[in-house]
Amino acid sequence: MFEALIEGIVNLSSPHSLLLLAAGSAVGLLFGAIPGLGGTTAVALLIPLTFGMEPWQAIILMGGVMAATSTGGSVSAILLNTPGIAPNAATTFDGYPLAQQGKAGMAIGAGATASALGGVIGVISLVAVIPIMKAIVLLFTPPEFFMLAIFGLCAIAVSSGDRLLQGLITAIVGLMVGFVGYYDVTSTVRYDFGLPLLEDGIKLVPALIGLFAISEMINLAVKGGSISQEASDVKISRISDGVKSVFKNWSTMIVGSGYGTFIGAVPGVGGTVAAFLSYSTQAQRDPSPDIEYGKGNIKGVIAPESANNAKDGGSLIPTLAFGIPGSAETAVFLGVLILHGIEPGQKLLEDHQDLVFTLVVALTVSAVFATLVVLALAKYMALLTRISVHMLIPTVTVVALVGAFALNTEIGDVVIAFIFAFIGYFMIRFNYPRVTFTIAIVLGSITELSFHQSMLISDDQWSIFYTRWLSVFLMVLTVLSLALPTIRRKMKERRIAKEEGSK
């Protein structure tokens, strides 16, 4: 493991690698700061640039993007009350009041430092789990993989919050899309409708570019206006006070990072839940604060920011170990790994530890780099959010379509990206989760393959799924995850009834 870590550091130490990391971090900061874009769009857009790269170079670029996005998002959350990405929403509660009190610099300093430290803690957790991951992965045979994929899909569907039905439908439709094309087990081409374009299946990269990059542009075009209407003439000072406040409130940062890592590791739950849980826990832990939460308490910035950056390391745990992405960003990142011939799981953890550690080092350095950039350029970053959508839409759309084409230099891929852009737009419009859809497309073939392998092993006996302890355990987790919204609703009803009774 130590050699792999050294190799990771060596991979990152060349000027070319550092340039890639800086470019990735810059794009991540930019896309994180501009509301409506986000890290997933950035990763999807950058995929075509990695085609000619070595796998570790692609990993460095993507690591830079992933680690920097939420740090960038915190700037617009604090200065403009507009979260760059969803996980930064909790930062607005206290970040914006601080900015209104003339303490924007302090809030940015605290947010950026908490982000960097949270990111590093998340990555350290990932490193700590790697040796255990190998042992766990070995416990998984086809039935367990099948149940894990089903659990992952259900957990992601449930994470759609109050849209469980829509989440489940989206997961199933995503699986169906994943079935299109050549099926290795029986060497049959299915659901291609005679179109050569579909013979090899739906190509992941054009589909992702359409779903996340172009659909966002269509959505912005339909919504119109400029991205942020708020004024950005906020004075940025007292940044060092913010940096110091994180060290003063270290326990808040540690607890937030713990939440981020743990919640990030659950597929689909993601940074938003981690940030909000971290914020609310902090508020509960501190019943009589000096400054009320929601009115400019610096701990209200530290808690969510450390959580939403720590989740990057956490969400990579299921992605690298099982190929089950922990978030939309990691789903697209998984596409990058597959594109470069890297298969997540035991093989990756044993044969390509250098790549895993290259990612670990890239995430760590990028988290720190992004923080330094934010501390230095916060004021100018706020101006980015003033860019008119009419400048962003044509440029991003064209670059996205060129990117979709570049992978196989097939014009059909542009059509795929175009079709998925509309699917993505309608999913935004009718509030169906695109993350679930993406993860289901990625998992479609793995799920079916594990299912068939299980049936082959068991001689077509379904009992294989409920006679192995790990498979049963995952089945119970699946049922529990599906029952969770009902349990939560019942508890809420009981609490309300109790409160009304006591009145």
Partner: protein, 167 residues
Amino acid sequence: MKIPEHRRASAYYILFTLAFVILFIVTSYQYKLTDRMFPLLVGYVALPLLILDLLALTDSKIGEKISIFFSAKTPEQVDEDADKTERTMAKELTIFAWMGALVLGIYLVGFLPCTPIFVYCWMKYRGGYSIRESCYLSIATTAFVYILFELILQYELYPGIFLYWYG
């Protein structure tokens, strides 16, 4: 059991998805048992879920019960929390037409002629920018695409079907 006017668009979306699922199921039967077993399993799970989703949109007791069961909210609360952005069909169709024209243009004449034309027209006619500003961004975008993809990454950008025809 009626679907209120403001939820009709969602209903059409569900019906479209339902049609896709039915097509998927029907198509599955043309394959051998091994090839269709798992897809069919998945397809048949989707049908009742879609029907429940459709029922949840109706103005009825059952619609309310389904909505509360799956989302802990009444249909009215779901309406309240929904994205309130005004999306007129005319506006959506206009944007779709712009995007469609871009893809068609790329298919016919390729990326390099289409990029400046699309960026210029969008800036000028949708964004209301001056000719000069529109020109600047269109040239900058084209230069970015050309330098990055053609020169640095050495991809041969699609030249359009017309150029293919003319050899």
